[in-house]
Point group: C2
Chain length 180, copies 2
């Protein structure tokens, strides 16, 4: 079964982007680069929500053909409003995200990454298809923004797999989910 990881970076006060979706506050370093490299080497598939997809598309330079911002990784975007099917290198999915990801996990392949804000992650947490959470906690209280973890119907117990204090003051944490 392929592993599904909810991964990214957040502020200490649980935001993953500013209210205007900006991520200018994220700190970069060689250590972060190494962690990201190791992370992406394990993945060959990304799932994201429509809002995260919109933000990624906005970052595509104007006049350029819109393309999958994550290169050649298989990318699925869940949306209730976009037309389902293949578009510009991504696949738009209107099916139930929990059931769809459960099916993806059974296919052959490397690991699956859940990107972006908490809307999709909340759905996938509640469907019980996420296996790990890996985040780089930035040394900042943003004060406002797009929350990473949303309210959920139930508590999820975690097991700490890794914790690394980086030189730039970030704290990288990796947890596995204790499934009942």
């Amino acid at each position: 079964m392929r592993k599904v990881t909810f991964g990214g970076a957040n502020s200490l006060d649980n935001y993953f982007a500013r209210d205007d979706d900006a991520v200018d506050w994220l700190m970069w370093s060689d250590e972060v680069g190494e962690i990201m490299k190791d992370f992406w080497a394990r993945m060959d598939c990304i799932v994201m929500g429509r809002k995260t997809y919109d933000v990624a598309m906005k970052m595509t330079p104007k006049g350029k053909k819109i393309k999958n911002p994550y290169g050649d990784l298989e990318t699925y975007v869940f949306s209730r409003t976009l037309e389902p099917g293949a578009h510009d290198g991504v696949k738009i999915i209107s099916d139930d995200p929990g059931k769809f990801v459960a099916k993806l996990k059974k296919r052959k392949g490397k690991e699956i990454c859940v990107l972006g804000g908490g809307d999709l992650a909340k759905t996938l947490f509640e469907a019980g298809v996420i296996d790990e959470i890996g985040f780089n906690i930035q040394p900042v209280l943003l004060g406002s923004g797009v929350p990473l973890f949303h309210r959920m119907k139930r508590q999820i117990d975690l097991e700490l797999l890794e914790c690394r204090a980086l030189k730039n003051g970030c704290v990288y944490v990796l947890y596995s989910l204790k499934h009942e």
Copy 2:
């Protein structure tokens, strides 16, 4: 100038208590005990909001005289509704919390701890009187509860002073606030 620390424990999804104020999910261990012992040895003063005070009072056994739940530490409770003055070992304060804590910092004494949920902390963060944040992040997504960090008017940059992964899966982090 006395140092002011916002300290406690939280879930990975930024809650410090369940919706019903329960903290039954907090993990205890000898390591946590050592950190708490060192922490409280540096403090001689607590400030808290009225809601945190109510929760602490609820934990006092029925039939017993209500007393300051924090023993002989000087304790201030900020409230707009309770009558100001000394009650049962605590001092009820109706003054502006930011200005009051700024004055407290100038008095002689050990360090000051800001306890409880984020309502008072938000006010004190915005007033610029908090110096450090020390939290024991528990390996759990509670899914719902009382948020630790509330929305604030501005971003606050932090410096990581300490990060310790505990054997029970908690991550203890200590930050200082970068004041402009």
